[in-house]
Symmetry: C2
Subunit: 366 residues, 2 copies
């Protein structure tokens, strides 16, 4: 599998859906990926199971507020510094790169880096969606140390963060990324191939491409893209799908605070009025409530999508009056274990509600 | 020359005077130094000119808000991590440590580190006083790069900051130190012996000890400690001395903001009323004004001292009602050049007044 000028757009749509509001607007990342492809630099995508046990796999990702990613270009040379500095630290060359998270802009980072340095991209990631903090990955949940972390600014200056604890690594990296202008390109969680196979969420790029293809294909055939999306997702580990709301954006409270985009969005029916439907976010959509009752909650995925084209909307692209549908789907099973819920469940985001799987909140009608 | 249980207290008093309000309360540092001495670990003090040209000299310092230093203990093991990580980065062992700044707690750091790792302490520093930012040293003024900087937290976790520009190094290190709880132990400005001889302010430890001895000796002999201080300073590169004010603290506005202790202190005569005398500070005392007119201004040194014992008071130890004298002395000549004033002159601290040397503000009375 390769990224081509044709399927970059599918990856963008699919990755934005999996981003669940976060992961950053992929527009600039898609431009960078397309430029690499046009130059003949294309990263090969390899299945997770094909990675050699003793390979060195390096996850790459932006750390910062998605609201900053749309305002500030990143250089490909920063990506190179980011990888090479990690190789120097570890005293060996990397064999492959991998997405730390499959969501929005983040999904494109390994493709841009891999193409730049000539390394394959593993078809997997550390979440199967996007999350706002470094420790919130299956890598971390399964005991891999996030440090050393190399954080690079737009000038190509590198900082190395050492921390035995992933939460402390998050704290320091966040402080650094804020000082860098709310974004930094990072390499982190360096791991062996055997570890990568044990702790990663597989098939991320395949699924992102599939989601994008389902939505784009249906739209081109003038069929219902939401139906096509649901049919495709049922073949993946995302499983259950629900359309939670159909209406428009009535209110939006969005701030860039502490290195994240935080706030909430309120929706009403197209004619106004009706149920009070609200979604809270911290980079990603965390919980959807109808009249105060939970309809979907993290780590399950919530997406706000254009109601006609099913193009998913990242937090930083929400606008007052947009006509949208809210779609939710289940999280990959790796995120729903009790060990995972301690790190990426509602309490990790300061929510008081317990996690209830989407399919339990919406039992099949008899 | 060696630091002994007897002369540590002289160093503390002299270094607090040279700290000009900043550099951190040396109490905890003095305890650490005394503990090292009691264990038989004593760092040898060597003259700047005796350092070999090809030696590796590593400056060490705390970076953070002095208001935090009085609340939080630092471990000697952090000091060891700080030095050893820098040695690993540079691929060679250090030959000596040196104070980044001779002021308050900072003056003791190289003695504690040197004793811990068995390295001599160079009798010199990078300012000849204390300043609040990393680029504000004669090292930086003379073109030495501050990076790589190793910043270590209380847990012994190390961050490495790379930056080609010293201002950017300051920005990133400050962000890191705030995330570390407003203080970090740093090694920075690594340099060769020949560079150290070219860019350092010499005799810092000798002068700090001399100042402390002058004040303590006079107090013990029940003579005027301010006169003894002035007599001693005239034999050093600090030259001119003025007692600017005699009174008490009438108001104090002190905050810990952005990683520094900032604010201002207002003094009145002992009976209250009289001239309006104010001193602004950012970690260090920056400018003293009587009825709005400048009486001393950075980089010249301003010190607030107990009016009976001449014990100098750091910013974080100022209290309402304290009876004090304000003493100013000239900066070392290296800080008064136009090149230096661009980095450590009034404008670098946001002050609108130009630098006027203390001796020009207070011409000798005929």
């Amino acid at each position: 599998m390769k990224l081509t000028l044709e399927n970059v757009q599918d990856l963008v749509i699919g990755a934005t859906f999996l981003g669940a509001g976060g992961g950053g607007d992929p527009y600039l990342g898609a431009l960078a990926a397309q430029q690499q492809i046009a130059r003949g630099r294309v990263a090969e995508v390899i299945p997770l199971q094909s990675v050699a046990d003793d390979a060195l796999v390096i996850p790459v990702a932006f750390v910062g507020a998605p609201t900053a990613f749309v305002e500030k270009l990143f250089t490909v040379s920063a990506a190179r510094v980011c990888l090479e500095r990690m190789e120097t630290l570890l005293g060996r060359k990397a064999d492959a790169v991998i997405a730390a998270e499959m969501g929005g802009l983040q999904s494109l980072v390994p493709f841009v880096v891999g193409a730049e340095v000539g390394l394959p991209v593993v078809d997997a990631d550390g979440i199967g969606r996007a999350f706002p903090e470094i420790q919130m990955t299956t890598f971390g949940i399964e005991g891999v140390r996030a440090a050393p972390i190399v954080a690079v600014d737009v000038y190509g200056e590198a900082l190395v963060i050492e921390a035995s604890d992933n939460l402390r690594a998050e704290t320091y990296t966040r402080a650094v990324c804020v000082a860098m202008g709310f974004q930094s390109m990072c390499s982190l969680y360096p791991m062996s191939g055997s570890t990568a196979k044990r702790v990663s969420v597989p098939n991320s790029a395949t699924y992102a491409l599939g989601i994008g293809r389902a939505i784009r294909g249906a739209s081109q055939r003038q069929e219902d893209p939401f139906g096509a999306l649901a049919n495709y997702l049922r073949t993946t580990h995302y499983g259950h799908v629900e359309i939670l709301f159909d209406g428009k954006i009535a209110d939006l409270d969005r701030r860039t605070r502490g290195g994240w985009a935080v706030g909430s969005v309120r929706l009403t029916g197209l004619a106004g009025g009706g149920d009070r439907f609200e979604i809270d976010f911290k980079n990603e959509y965390l919980v959807a409530r109808r009249n105060g009752r939970v309809e979907a909650i993290v780590p399950d995925l919530i997406s706000i999508m254009d109601r006609d084209t099913a193009v998913p909307l990242a937090v930083e692209n929400l606008k007052y009056g947009q006509r949208v549908k809210v779609v939710a789907c289940g999280a990959p099973p790796q995120l729903r274990t009790s060990k995972a819920l301690a790190v990426v469940g509602p309490a990790a985001f300061g929510l008081t509600e317990s996690f209830v799987p989407l399919e339990s909140l919406h039992p099949a009608r008899p």
